[in-house]
Symmetry: C2
């Protein structure tokens, strides 16, 4: 296991020296030639060791689209040439209560993330989708429809499922007034998915200038969270809030927007939420909950839902050589709304 940690490595330094074809194709494995890989903010956190615990070299990437190159002799669900996806998970224990509930993302035996997890098959750490190929157990490979714009499907594997799963868990339905808080990679998928579910979608943003784009994406209304009068006019009116803000922030103005007995789901803020007002929760029996990506079964359901409703991510294509600039732009929220790497540029 290579545990050498670079002092302040760039993503390119970490990518450069590695061979990506190390895992032979086992009986239940699918080997995928990667065509596209989305750039998620977590890629940056882990490449830059911002969460601590990164083991270098890191090969990021968990929004993977490609075609099956080879399958093991025991693989039943895939054949060479199939268009497939791999998301944030490549393995789990298969027998804990979470796995039995098709919620591998909460595996109690230890889920294996697509990159940066101890690799139970090969030893060392798992390597992700900024790569030519990946070999994955077929249970963690997703079918992808040929009818969508393939490169724009990649971000569905993380941004799509992260927003789809809580909308389903909390049973958002036609006519519900749903607020999507924050318009970035996650938020723009939240708007598209909630609108496709028939909800009345309100984009809640600090930035009035994002309004027009939010409506283009499918939002029916825009609510500027810095405008106290607008916020007061929407008080106690939302059936559901999906909070995609990726950093610590004051959640109380959003709690005030919620109807009695409704939920705000936090999907972005892996952070301390300061001073959550107990009064806001108690007085109308409101709830704050968390949600982490989604299980494999639900990820397939989300991909099928997107194919049916013609939903993809808004993407900006980059070459792998531009990854460090792309990272800097993601940090500045300067992307509409997801970078996707064209993986054939890895051979340039």
């Amino acid at each position: 296991m290579n545990t050498k940690a670079y002092a302040a490595p760039s993503a390119t330094e970490n990518l450069a020296p590695f061979a990506f074809d190390r895992r032979t194709v086992g009986a239940k494995d699918v080997q995928i030639e990667i065509e596209y890989c989305g750039v998620c903010h977590s890629d940056i956190h882990i490449a830059r060791n911002e969460w601590g615990g990164s083991v270098y070299p890191v090969v990021p990437g968990h929004e993977i689209i490609g075609r099956v190159a080879k399958v093991g002799e025991g693989v039943a669900g895939f054949k060479a040439g199939d268009l497939v996806g791999v998301g944030c998970l490549v393995d789990s224990c298969h027998h804990c209560p979470a796995c039995e509930d098709d919620l591998e993302q909460y595996c109690e035996g230890g889920m294996v993330f697509t990159y940066g997890s101890p690799d139970p098959v090969m030893g060392g750490m798992t390597y992700g989708g900024y790569s030519e190929k990946i070999v994955v157990d077929e249970q963690f490979v997703l079918h992808v429809s040929e009818k969508l714009d393939t490169k724009a499907v990649a971000p569905l594997l993380c941004a799509g499922i992260t927003t789809y799963s809580p909308l389903r868990q909390w049973q958002v339905k036609a006519g519900d007034k749903v607020g999507i808080i924050g318009l970035g990679g996650l938020g723009h998928m939240g708007v598209k998915l909630a609108a496709a579910m028939g909800a009345h979608v309100v984009m809640i943003t600090t930035s009035p200038e994002k309004g027009a784009d939010a409506k283009r994406l499918g939002a029916h209304e825009v609510l500027v969270s810095r405008d106290e009068a607008q916020m007061a006019a929407h008080a106690n009116s939302f059936d559901f809030l999906l909070n995609t803000i990726p950093v610590a922030h004051d959640v109380n103005p959003y709690i005030d927007l919620m109807k009695r007995d409704t939920t705000m789901v936090i999907v972005g803020a892996l952070a301390l939420l300061p001073d959550v007002n107990g009064v806001g929760l108690i007085m109308k029996r409101k709830r704050i909950a968390g949600s982490l990506i989604g299980g494999i079964r639900e990820t397939q359901e989300m991909l099928d839902f997107c194919a049916e409703h013609n939903i993809v991510s808004d993407v900006e294509m980059i070459d792998i050589q531009d990854i460090n600039d792309a990272y800097d732009r993601v940090v500045k929220a300067d992307v509409k709304y997801r970078f996707v790497i064209d993986m054939k540029t890895l051979k340039d």
Copy 2:
């Protein structure tokens, strides 16, 4: 409306000058001769204007037990001599979605609290149970079983329903591992009620010396929250947490105790909860919710449940003349577990 605010009034000063027999018995009204009234911490907050907005004189008291003295000609459900209770509410709008759902405590038209609310019938403010009599619309009067120790029933009207309602809302059932956080007026009722529902009850307290008493009340285990090893041993194991801590506090150690997809309900902390860890919520899809007392239908259900299971509060009886000392002892958490005023002492 008397809005004269005393500088730093004692409860007795506020009680002294008032006539309590001002409301005539309307067609739908029940006049109750009050026998006992429990002392809730909110009585102190409002008597001392600690939440702001108190309108003096204040007559506190919303854990009221008494006998019907007189009923209006349109009253069908009560007759003179009946043993009855009045809790935190004496009226609501009757037609909003909350009222239609039997959740008058969340009335959108404005619920009328038993004391300190604008009084829609008499004008001025409502006056509570530290009194000889009270006149209440029959829809807000509860039937009380004769089989229980009457004076110990009083605290069920607030402490009982506040803990019963979330246990029912979140469907606590036999065999669930339920943690009751904090052993005071609310917590001791939470232990008794959750145990009667068949749960495996764990008293979670900062004070190891409360352990024996918690077990006497019905707890199966005691978990000392300051003991990190004990807390770690219970990590991710609870099906439900009822958090009765009445002040701001760090909720993150409790979040760590919860299983995936479970809820901690805050019933006491009308306060800012500092630095709630989003990671704790996201990683196992956990939830923090609030809950406020209960509706009238559910309060009756709770009283019937307590009669069936022989549940009352642990009380310490006081004379009304001792109310200020009792307040000071409540503030110091020096009561096991609820003071109840013997209202005949008001005539002494």
